[in-house]
Symmetry: C2
Subunit: 137 residues, 2 copies
Amino acid sequence: MDVKQAIQLLQNEGYKVTKPRENMLYYFEEEDGYRTAKDFMLFTEENYESMSFDTVYRNLHLYHSLGILESTDLDGEKHFRMNCMTDHHHHFICKDCGNTKKIPICPMGEIEEMLTDYDIEGHKLEVYGVCPLCQSA
Amino acid sequence: MDVKQAIQLLQNEGYKVTKPRENMLYYFEEEDGYRTAKDFMLFTEENYESMSFDTVYRNLHLYHSLGILESTDLDGEKHFRMNCMTDHHHHFICKDCGNTKKIPICPMGEIEEMLTDYDIEGHKLEVYGVCPLCQSA
DNA sequence: TTTACAAATCGGAATCATTACGATATAATG
DNA sequence: CATTATATCGTAATGATTCCGATTTGTAAA
């Protein structure tokens, strides 16, 4: 998912393409990892174009519901990153920088077999630690 | 982990065994699933022995740091359950009642092999949905 | 290109979960 | 049973997120 595709999706679904929305898309396309609402607010302030909390949170939810962003609960804060929908996978998440590495392994096949009476709606597999770059820093 | 073991652990580590602490232990021993601070506060109010937020949160953290409780971030709230330290495993978590079912599968062996340059500190594997009991209700 | 209007934004107030704080109470030890 | 460090209490403060009324803006039709 890139900015171009996301804008296309917004238009197809009848949502307006506004300056704030574009700014958010470009930010998350650039950052290859999980970021919070505050991360984004700080970034915009540094670039002299801060926007309302309301707008940021509302669009984060919109983007999540449209599948443009994926999210995870971490340390009591919601974190978001661009959604890579091409294949099903999971992430290593660096606790220092928030950047991620793809993990192309998923044990859900096995697990579904042992939960036949359960209505499975989703799952989460995440690995936490420090990435090579942050280790050397 | 049961109440008896937890109390033993508190004493060994030099912590006092107080009424509020005992109440919390009995609550989590009884409930076989993830519960929030508020869940516990509501329970105590119904039993006419409510206690301070400060006390509840402080002891939740204490119990977590001692390994008496395990925790997970869910819907922007921290959830806790009695820790079952006998074997490494993961959980199915019912989104309606919070109760859990053990999943004795873990793909970390495979995953560690593909993350050789990464400093791995932890991981999370959770399956979400509706348990059989809540489906029929 | 202008107009019209639904949709989006803004700033600030409100809410919810969680943490901090000073005063009081209490478990553990001698 | 006296001492004292530790825990609790009630409340105030914090941090993330949501809500709200007023204003602005994209979009589509005139």
